[in-house]
Symmetry: D3
Subunit: 133 residues, 6 copies
């Protein structure tokens, strides 16, 4: 769907746009936000989630968070998610070497996952004990 | 398939088991390795890959690597991959709070990915420029 | 692959095209049908399936059926499936508000699914009883 | 992970449990909630999302919503999500015939999706026009 | 759901069971058929599809067909599909070495796929020309 | 990412390009290799894997191997993987009829997988016995 521009937005959406601009300290509102604005309840819900899960200080550092988004986006084959998280990760200092290693890891994890599934590998007792299942 | 025990292994497989024990400094050979040993070429190939991608020092720290494995395993719904990476991440210092945050991030990334796919959000020009596509 | 036009079709395919036109009461044969026509057995099989599963009157109403197709297409990241089901759903009366809610639901279901997988949530006894497993 | 029982919960979690019990008018707190309670921020966020997306009156009827959850859960191969949505759908009146039709639709949508992907079917102009892309 | 036994089946289902027994020349009706029998239209439709796509002589040999089913089942993480196709492949002569190679290929294809997605590799002109897109 | 041309490559990458050209007896280096060359360790690792898993003589014939790659690529919705494996399969003799049958099989396997998952079909004892789990 076409993104909704700031000047075309309803007051409800515009208030959310204003908060986005303020919290991110960036006048550019990405297409993701301007497109999900077609359903204001989604825009409001996801923006609140991103503020608390991604933007707020936490026990996982900001660059690692972007790497997790990259990994999930590659798994879901989501081009938009990949491009946005890749851009944000670079802005947070990810080097090309790190990106290369990240894709290498993602690729290898898919390989070991498929082998574990195909061979129906049984859980080791040490895992069950470590995780307290 | 049933894992192949050390004492039942062929010389080719045993040599790989010995290297696994030595490099990981751990006499326990997890079921994953003992099961893919049914096809020694796979055991050899994947073990070499894990040594170079996961074990060797690199630009991504060891705990973050396990978190990437957790993210991919949750996406592939691979119980074995999840249990092993979760166990290894804990051994490398991941706290329960970090695991909670990690799952929260994975969950949220799936949500934003599905919205980007469902709304067919167009790539922002700033992403295209940042990534030099 | 390139779609096969009506005038270029073999008699076997043309008979199926004629049935498509008649049953759907629409002279336009979508690219999906004209492309899978490269393997006439597929065209025949899938067309019979669509007639009995989607077109025939049933216990699930026609709009809900399109919503299910949308949900599956978003999960499979199938652009064609999404565009066709979205178009058909609109033709059957789906409002923009309903589409917004549908994507919101799909997004949230992915989030709860990933949390259930990541936390390996145990089935509640009440579910086992209700489903008579 | 093991679910956290009401009597073992922290005040923060207990307040959310109380709201769950009250809003759903059901003293049983399913394992999903009691397990994600290990990360109270997740419990709070997801519970707010479920209240607004699933429980609040909306333009999609409650039974259809559960069917969407079933479809997504089958796609993600999430046993917990499937069992819970199946149970709730039955409680909201879904008949066995409807469940059979629902799985038939999901199965068929996967088939047509994979054909559209494998044949790389081009989008019809009528879809592009209908959706205003 | 619980499989429906022959003696408990309706005449409609029993006629399909009889055809299954006759065509496969095997008195054992697998759980898959006896479970989807809860929705007789699904049983009928899928059985017709299996007869024409899997059982009928064709340009792909029977063992390769089972290998394709194994590959798809590993991708979908479908335990039942994997166990049934693995069993049928063995009955059609697949050796343990072939199974090992098959899983190795599946694993590697996942790795190259994820790299192609993560690096957004552009299609080579030679592919576009060869496929006549 | 942009592919790295032969003349712009580092000595490390160039040595791998030379080996690719020699082993495949083809001066054209596909974009896949020239793009993953951004991380030379990935290029080296994957090229070694392809040599041993795909190119080396083995118990699965070369055309069947490409069909497996096609099946996995369709499942992962990987356009590059699909186009390359499709092209290579044609070069190895795959007919249009075989491609049509292959997609038909992939589509049907997805359908039976989703039904097995949705109905939670129990494993037959005959499978468990045949596979010696």
């Amino acid at each position: 769907m076409k993104p909704i521009d700031y000047e075309d937005s309803t007051p409800e959406v515009r208030a959310l746009y204003d908060d986005l601009i303020k919290v991110r300290n960036n006048p550019w509102i990405h297409n993701f936000w301007r497109t999900i604005a077609h359903h204001p309840a989604t825009l409001s819900r996801i923006w609140e989630a991103v503020k608390s899960v991604v933007i707020a200080p936490s026990a996982i550092d900001p660059l690692t968070k972007e790497m997790i988004f990259i990994a999930v986006s590659v798994q879901n084959n989501c081009r938009y998610g990949l491009a946005s998280a890749h851009t944000f990760a670079k802005a947070k200092g990810m080097t090309d070497a790190q990106y290369g290693e990240l894709l290498d890891l993602i690729a290898l994890a898919n390989e070991t996952n498929r082998l574990a599934i195909g061979y129906e590998v049984e859980l080791d007792r040490v895992f069950v004990e470590a995780l307290g299942h």
